[in-house]
């Protein structure tokens, strides 16, 4: 690393590059965990006018600390308005009002279909996960979808144990033919790099690797033969603003939640 460059972790790089994908002014339906950190980092840096929406019914929320749960008081007390769960899923999400859906996942396949339901067989699971929640509706109805998760062979699999939410289905125009309202995943952001769907086949293609990460290591961390773009760019390092804003946010969050312990 060049002299004077900032040190940062792979997770920080992941959250920062995910945050960069959220354009200012967009309405964004935010999942808990990594997506929530990225969406709020975006709001606190380049996207002050992004409208963050959580499935608990909080619209235009501006949390000062990251929520532990999707319905924390911090979300409702800083929201422009709070509506019922019925309304958030009908008039807002299904209503086609959301530009971007921001999701995490336990497993993902080459067409960015995701599993957050079960590892192993559904009826006699190896690991039972929390389940769908709002994910299938977010993946179906938002204008586009961003997915962020850590990259390894347990997560990036040849075949999902269970398909919870639809990405590009079997690829090509198969999603289009199903007439989903939204156009599906446009980027998958991990701790190693960024993958975007091929315009035609819709297969995830490695288009950017983070600083110090090799293409081979990304391919090695993927459970299928990962498609690699002819030109793989290098993800720009975190800026000082991005890094300090993220660390301050996480410090405030730790402090606030400790305060409740």
């Amino acid at each position: 690393m060049p002299d004077g460059a900032l040190e940062y972790t792979a997770d920080e790089m992941m959250t920062i590059s995910a945050a960069r994908m959220l354009r200012n002014g967009a309405s964004c339906f935010v999942g808990i965990g990594l997506p929530s950190a990225a969406a709020n980092l975006a709001r606190l840096t380049h996207a002050p006018d992004a409208v963050l929406i959580y499935e608990s019914g909080c619209i235009g929320t501006k949390p000062n600390v990251l929520p532990l749960s999707i319905g924390d008081g911090e979300l409702s007390e800083t929201a422009d308005t709070v509506v019922s769960i019925i309304e958030i899923f009908t008039y807002w999400l299904q209503g086609g009002r959301i530009d971007i859906g921001f999701l995490g996942a336990a497993q993902i396949d080459r067409f960015a279909n995701i599993n957050s339901t079960v590892i192993g067989d559904y009826d006699s699971p190896k690991t039972r996960l929390p389940g769908a929640g709002g994910a299938p509706a977010i993946a179906a109805n938002c204008g586009e979808v961003l997915v962020t998760l850590r990259q390894n062979k347990r997560a990036f699999v040849e075949k999902l144990d269970f398909q919870t939410s639809g990405g590009h289905m079997e690829g090509g125009d198969s999603r289009e033919r199903m007439r989903f309202p939204g156009k599906g995943p446009t980027a998958v952001i991990t701790d190693l790099g960024i993958m975007t769907p091929d315009p035609v086949t819709k297969e995830l293609t490695l288009t950017s690797v983070h600083q110090g990460v090799t293409v081979d290591s990304v391919v090695a961390a993927t459970g299928w033969k990962l498609k690699v773009a002819d030109q793989v760019s290098m993800t720009p390092r975190p800026t000082e603003l991005e890094l300090t804003t993220l660390r301050d946010l996480q410090a405030r969050t730790a402090k606030a939640h400790a305060g409740q312990n």
């Binding site: 808990i32 499935e55 608990s56 019914g57 909080c58 929520p67 532990l68 749960s69 999707i70 319905g71 924390d72 008081g73 979300l75 409702s76 007390e77 709070v82 019922s84 769960i85 019925i86 899923f89 009908t90 999400l93 299904q94 279909n113 339901t117 559904y122 009826d123 006699s124 699971p125 690991t127 039972r128 996960l129 929390p130 389940g131 769908a132 929640g133 709002g134 994910a135 299938p136 509706a137 993946a139 179906a140 109805n141 269970f162 398909q163 919870t164 939410s165 639809g166 990405g167 289905m169 999603r175 199903m178 007439r179 989903f180 309202p181 939640h257 409740q260 312990n261």
Partner: protein, 285 residues
């Protein structure tokens, strides 16, 4: 018409073995006190409905009250899995439970349909997901105007819905605010309903268009201060995140779970007793 009762009486009168019960709450205002009373009174064979079953459902399942769960997201928010739910699904302990799994949008539509006295709810849902392969209560219908295919789910019609709210007045009119989840719909969809509240006041002083459940759509109101602990009640107390984290260890093993239920729930006579017993082990309880 709502009657003001002690929680013990309310659960005793309105929650019966074999009932379909919805204890709703979306991370906010979760009716923990009422759930504990159901465990104390040893209800059995319940079908429990909830969009987001969390720690209180983990307790009901581990305590053997539940024979079926209808849900769309089951976990310990911000922490991880529900070990008792997993043990019941994966190892059938303490008894096998039937699982009917949905997506949130479908559960929301089912509650709204129930509240509206419609037999089913319609949504653009259950597309691109394997859920319908495992849930015969998801079907598809054609729009009579456009021919579009849409998903349909049967209405939720709980025998009894149990929720926690901030306030009621002495007539039993209930008021809640903040994250209100699906609570209003769950009450309107149910044959009977129990509402625990932080306080009973002379006047709700409700702003226009507040979220109100009039006394005449509620069966019983019980004042239970702190009755949503360890979840939160906006305007009253914050979420006790420490408890949610501790629960992960308590629930991991059957023995520690049973010991905890024995010591803090079945071993106490009411929620005040529970709060007292838990203060020793959880800060700010």
């Amino acid at each position: 018409m709502a009657v003001i009762l002690q929680l013990r009486e309310a659960i005793g009168e309105f929650v019966r073995d074999g009932d379909t019960v919805a204890l709703e709450g979306f991370t906010h205002l979760i009716p923990f006190a009422a759930g504990h009373e159901i465990i104390r009174q040893k209800r059995r064979g319940l079908t429990v409905i909830r969009m987001t079953p969390d720690v209180i459902y983990d307790q009901l399942i581990g305590a053997g009250c539940v024979s079926k769960i209808v849900f769309s997201w089951g976990g310990n928010p911000g922490v991880g899995s529900l070990h008792r739910l997993r043990d019941a699904i994966e190892k059938k302990w303490p008894n096998p439970i039937e699982v009917e799994e949905h997506e949130h949008a479908g559960m929301a539509a089912a509650y709204a349909a129930g509240a509206s006295h419609l037999p089913f709810g319609v949504l653009r849902g259950y597309v691109g997901t394997d859920l319908p392969k495992h849930n015969s209560n998801v079907r598809f219908i054609d729009c009579p105007f456009t021919g579009e295919k849409l998903a349909a789910v049967p209405a939720h019609r709980p025998d009894v819905t149990v929720i926690h709210a901030q306030k009621a007045d002495r007539k039993g009119n209930v008021m809640m605010w903040g994250v209100v989840g699906a609570q209003k719909e769950a009450v309107m969809a149910a044959k009977r309903s129990i509402v625990t509240v932080e306080e009973i006041v002379d006047d709700l002083n409700a702003p226009p268009n507040s979220v109100i459940l009039p006394a005449w759509v509620v069966s019983a109101v019980s004042e239970v201060k702190g009755g949503a602990f360890p979840s939160y009640a906006q305007g009253y107390y914050a979420r006790n995140n420490a408890f949610y984290k501790q629960w992960d260890n308590i629930a991991k093993e059957r023995e520690t779970f049973l010991q905890w239920i024995e010591e803090h729930v079945t071993g106490t006579k009411d929620f005040a007793g529970f709060k007292k017993s838990i203060e020793k082990v959880v800060a700010h309880a």
